[in-house]
Amino acid sequence: MERKINKESLGLGIALLLIGLVLFVSALKLPAGSSMDVGASFMPKVISGALAVLGACFILSAFLSRKEVKGGAAYTRNEVVRLLITFALLFVYIFFLKKIGFIIMTVFYIIAQSWFITPPEDRKPVRLVILAVVSTLIIYAVFVFGFKLLLPAGILG
């Protein structure tokens, strides 16, 4: 029987093994912090070592596997682009949260994100703006007045 390699397991295994090894090496540099050899650096060594061992097990299982699994997560280019756009929106939202303020940034984010994930024929600008403003104000009121937590006021403050 021809052996087939499970590429997904192989990839995961290599990644975990490398991460485990890198962390293990950096754990070796930690001061023990205790008179005995079981101080602050003990657990990091154990856990990163375990991670590396699990990585090795994944690699082993990739070669023992009987079915062929293609490597990668098998996402289309389009899907990856969509993911990156959402990620970028979140990045902008968080980055300007303190500088511009919670209310403005949240309204902006809800409108942008919702517009992006709504099917084009379903997009209703007026309804969306109302939803964004109302839900932002509700969240703000609940957190600031109800639960007495602080939110960044930004340029409105």
Binding site: E8, L12, L23, S26, A27, L30, P31, A32, G33, S34, M36, V38, G39, A40, S41, M43, P44, I47, S48, A50, L51, L54, C57, R66, Y75, N78, E79, V80, R82, T86, F87, L90, Y93, I94, L97, K98, F102, T106, Y109, I110, Q113, S114, I117, T118, P119, P120, E121, D122, L128, L131, S135, T136, I139, F143, F147, K148, L149, L150, L151, P152
Partner: protein, 494 residues
């Protein structure tokens, strides 16, 4: 103490919060894609300024509502609202199709209540005994129980033990970031000042359970879909007393399965409903009718998933080890309030324990009333499109993580754990072992190091002299070894 606990819950504000919690929980439970885990994680920051009893009562009501809410969408649109209601679809959806939606809902709600009540009774009965027994636990036992919990969840929840264990180890890895409990050394901070105190629990939870979900939803190209919600008509409870009597054995059996699975660390309603359904089918005199729309199926699934609530709370309260993902968040909530769950809680803080018992009982009552009276409202929530809901949920994630410390850093780490959650979903790694590893990392380390220090030389030898610890460690080992062997056997016969 009993009275004190009851009084702590019976304040108007707490009751209003619990009512809100139950409604929010049911809403999150009923909308597919939003889960009870998410609801509890998102509402955790709101409890920041509340008293311990009030905060926990609020979270418990979210939990109980959330687990039950899944049945609404399972029956009316044939999509489980949460993983806990997967098996409810099997008979609930056919019943709805046959024009018996009202009856299916009534049966589901009543079975939910029955399961919850029985599990709360079990909790009140079992928890103090377990607590008394575990009072004698030292570092050996705690280390062994923690390892047991982590391996159980890793091997039972994932299709691959390797993936489950890796998830747990990665969670443990993240828990190491920051100042070490022994020696006070800053670890894995990589020169980032904010990391010196380690990752805050909340961004980790919200990132993993909410942001990850939103990231993966946003990838799918939006298409116009019409949601078909079956109309229903419900009179009274929707079923007769005679029918209820016929289900008594099924109710009790399913609840016991739910409680048992709930007690096991790491797995809860998401597992128990499916197992209970298949056992009910095997034990039935008419297994061929299962799946065609009979009440037995709904009863088995809904009694079991709700019974896991009380079950999952038992190890949380007595050992500080969460029984499932939601109780892991409750653990975070308790720690945030400076309460360390464990056997000592029963000795020192009986008031809180009774408050939790009463919170469970009262929110079960609320769930019962709200689900019957508010069914039409929840159906309307089901109709709200996801593209409106998810951005608002995301905004809530950002607010919640920011508000705990007023640091944007926490929001960034929430996003990072969102990416971790997304990667986990992509490669089918289970999230619960990660959370358990992250939450229990400190306990694991402290007890391991203490047990090494106690042992005075050979640790392995010291452990062999501790019978309770040995049993837990051996079972943990057996579970890890047993699952791959069974998988290999199944593959050969298949």
């Amino acid at each position: 103490m009993i009275l004190e606990g009851l009084l702590a819950i019976l304040t108007p504000l707490t009751l209003v919060l619990m009512l809100a919690g139950t409604v929010i929980g049911i809403a999150f439970g009923s909308v597919p894609g939003l889960t009870s885990t998410m609801a509890v994680a998102l509402c955790l920051p709101m409890t920041y300024k509340m008293s311990t009893e009030m905060g926990i009562a609020f979270l418990v009501s979210l939990y109980i509502g959330g687990i039950s809410g899944g049945l609404i969408s399972a029956i009316l649109i044939n999509i489980p609202g949460t993983p806990s209601s997967v098996a409810t679809c099997f008979d609930g959806a056919p019943m709805a199709k046959n024009g018996q939606a009202g009856k299916a809902l009534g049966v589901g709600i009543c079975a939910s209540v029955f399961g919850t009540v029985l599990s709360i009774a079990a909790m009140i009965f079992i928890a103090p005994m377990l607590a008394k027994w575990s009072l004698a636990f030292g570092p050996y036992e705690y280390f062994a129980v923690t390892v047991f919990a982590l391996t159980m969840i890793s091997s039972l929840i994932a299709d691959s033990v390797l993936k489950g264990l890796s998830a747990a180890i990665i969670g443990l890895m993240f828990s190491l970031v920051g100042i070490s409990p022994t020696g006070g050394v800053v670890r894995f901070a990589f020169g980032i000042r904010e990391l010196q105190l380690g990752f805050n629990t909340l961004p980790v939870l919200i990132g993993l359970f909410a942001v990850g979900e939103i990231l993966s939803y946003s990838m799918i190209k939006p298409e116009k879909k019409d949601l078909k919600i079956i109309d229903f008509d419900i009179k009274g409870f929707g079923f007769t007393m005679e029918e209820a009597r016929g289900q008594l054995v099924n109710l009790i059996r399913s609840s016991l399965i739910g409680i048992g699975i709930g007690i096991l660390p790491g797995i809860g309603g998401g597992t128990s409903n499916v197992i209970s359904y298949s056992i009910a089918k095997n034990q039935s005199k008419y297994p061929e009718k299962f799946g065609t729309g009979i009440v037995d199926g709904i009863v088995a699934s809904e009694a079991a998933n709700n019974a896991s609530v009380g079950g999952a709370l038992i190890p949380l309260l007595t050992l500080g080890i969460p029984g499932d993902a939601v109780t892991a968040i409750l653990l975070g909530g308790l720690i945030m309030k400076g309460v360390n769950p464990g056997p000592l809680l029963f000795v020192n803080n009986g008031r809180l324990i009774y408050a939790i018992y009463f919170a469970c009982i009262i929110s079960t009552l609320m769930m019962f009333v709200i689900e019957f009276l508010g069914l039409r409202m929840f159906v309307r929530i089901l109709k709200v499109p996801k593209h409106y809901l998810l951005p608002v949920v995301m905004a809530l994630c950002v607010v919640g993580t920011f508000a705990i410390n007023n640091r944007v850093f926490d929001v960034w780490s929430c996003l990072i754990f969102g990416v971790v959650g997304f990667l986990f979903k992509t490669f089918r790694f289970p999230e619960s072992p990660f959370i358990l590893g992250f939450m229990l990392g400190g306990v694991l380390e402290q007890n391991l190091i203490r047990s090494i220090q106690y042992s005075d030389g050979s640790v392995v030898l010291a452990y062999t002299k501790q019978p309770i610890a040995m049993v837990f460690l051996l079972v943990a080992l057996a579970v890890v070894v047993w699952k791959p062997i069974m998988n290999a056997k199944n593959k050969k016969t298949a």
